[in-house]
Symmetry: C2
Subunit: 339 residues, 2 copies
């Protein structure tokens, strides 16, 4: 059936993050195939490289569509790290490219927090905290705009993120090196095992362009030291949990029994982080109910595309978090941006 037109329903989802790009083809809400390219798309201060993104996505999508014998796409959705602040190039190029290549009539471009939300909760109201190297929380009651909380980067916020936890652990190590209050000898030993002599640490961190990632790379050591009984490392995790609860509570929409889901690598720390997070969130925001995420951001992109295809999207369309572009040359509506 390769190349044959199939009426309606074929959708494409794309998820682009720091470790690579994934593309999925779906129909009637069922993912029929997936490709993973372990290459991060180039991102500079001037934006995400749209040409590099399309060079990865278009062949993978063509491969999936050809392999499935799929017809023209009804809709597509792409979530990307950096979309909110650095996505102008993607917003300008991707909808037309997917329309021209695969006939996609409507294309959504979303921040990775929005695809994380859609993957975790789908079309439900609630809040999602995405905590990896950075941290952002998004909430919605499906009526007003997104409730966006934090995501301000490692100097202004991202409180409780991987960069936050790693930074706090490294500070505690340097305090032990100095003989200052609040130091941790186990964290100092971990720093020296990972990075070398403590006094050389500034030279290993500050010249790097990816300082937040370097900070976050220390999270496993903080988690290990906490698990082995170091009270300073355990306190770092407890404080991180409090910050994550702060973000979840602020993002959680008013109402009763609101679902709150957690996604991202930081939650891989497990109970030493999750237990104090649940306890603090219950105190701050009794209406929140912590639920497991249903799926990942790639599923979220597929869900957004599917909801666009059948007209059931309830998540707030609000530039730059979530932009929807219909293709004028394929008979769709012509609209961009917020409701």
């Amino acid at each position: 059936m390769t190349g044959a037109a199939v009426p309606g329903g074929w959708v494409l989802g794309v998820d682009s993050g720091g470790t690579g790009v994934r593309v999925a083809l779906a129909r009637d809400g069922v993912v029929l195939g997936e490709r993973r390219m372990p290459v991060a798309v180039r991102t500079s201060a001037s934006g995400i490289d749209a040409a590099a993104m399309l060079d990865l996505v278009l062949p993978a999508a063509a491969d999936l569509i050809g392999g499935a014998g799929a017809g023209p796409l009804t809709a597509a959705a792409m979530g990307a790290a950096g979309m909110v602040s650095l996505g102008d190039g993607l917003r300008a190029a991707v909808p037309r490219a997917l329309g021209e290549a695969f006939g996609a009539r409507v294309v959504a471009l979303a921040g990775d927090a929005v695809t994380a939300y859609a993957g975790a909760l789908g079309n439900r109201s609630g809040a999602v905290v995405a905590a990896g190297t950075g941290l952002i929380a998004l909430g919605t009651d499906l009526r007003g705009p997104w409730r966006r909380v934090d995501g301000w980067g490692h100097l202004l916020g991202d409180c409780g993120s991987g960069a936050w936890i790693g930074r706090a652990g490294l500070e505690a190590a340097m305090r032990a090196h100095d003989g200052r209050r609040g130091g941790s000898k186990p964290l100092l030993a971990a720093l020296e095992a990972v990075f070398g002599p403590a006094a050389s640490m500034p030279g290993r961190l500050y010249p790097r362009a990816d300082r937040p990632a370097v900070l976050a790379s220390f999270v496993p050591e903080v988690a290990r030291c906490a698990a082995e009984g170091d009270p300073v490392a355990a306190d770092v995790l407890e404080r991180a949990a409090g910050h994550i609860a702060d973000a979840a509570a602020a993002a959680c929409p008013p109402g009763q029994d609101r679902a709150v889901a957690c996604t991202g690598g930081v939650f891989g720390i497990g109970e030493p982080l999750l237990r104090p997070f649940r306890e603090e969130l219950a105190r701050l925001c009794p209406r929140a109910r912590v639920v497991a995420a249903e799926g990942d951001p790639l599923l979220g992109a597929v869900r957004i595309a599917s909801a666009l295809a059948d007209g059931t999207l309830r998540l707030p369309v609000e530039e730059p978090l979530l932009t929807v572009t219909a293709q004028p040359d394929t008979g769709g509506r012509t609209s961009t941006g917020g409701r």
Copy 2:
């Protein structure tokens, strides 16, 4: 007496910081003239630009020496921000240049914390906390090596510094913007008055190379909000005071009745910072006695040069904090670096 040889005693002091370079000529401990060039010496990841430093210092020194009718220098000392981690070029070039130009027989190169120490306490044992954009504490009992504490930069430490206070204030502002716990509406209003809309703050901070200075530029707003009764801003200052006390306590040498001096722009905040600092230091380190700094880092450089000239230097000579180089071609000892 221009150009005439005067036996012994003429010394040169240099202080280089973020706002410019100062040069002083002294004899018998008395400063006879001073020049100030409001130009910061270029500093990159590869080091402080030694040629640019000498282009500023040599003409000013020649001017001072000529004006005073001074003979050859007995000794010179230069303190510079960045000397400890980025001073290899200065250590290679400055002693010979000052020897060739002015006959300086012995030249000291010091981190700005060492000249701050010498300016504040001279040849006495004790500790000095220097808190500007960054924060470092140095202590000595005049027998062992320097007790160096913090100075690890804005991600690993510099706890209680201008960058630390400004960053904490900006985080509290963004918390208020998000509706998170720990936010301060007065700090949010201050952020928006200084930088513009809160959501644009990441774009105003992260692309800058001088992020610590941008963070520290918010200190006056934190101090003002605290003075006007904002409890969040006051708490930022109290926590900063605690961190500064931590650093002073760790740097303070063992013994009785040790002098601890505070230098740097952060202490311009005054009692809202100094009161909790003194209280916390008294708890942590009862042997510490807070004293006023006698002078500034330029006086410190002059004092180090004078002490080298008359053989009375008691501060630890320890690379890279304090390096002393004697000129072989002027009959002096040939030595570089630590004792």
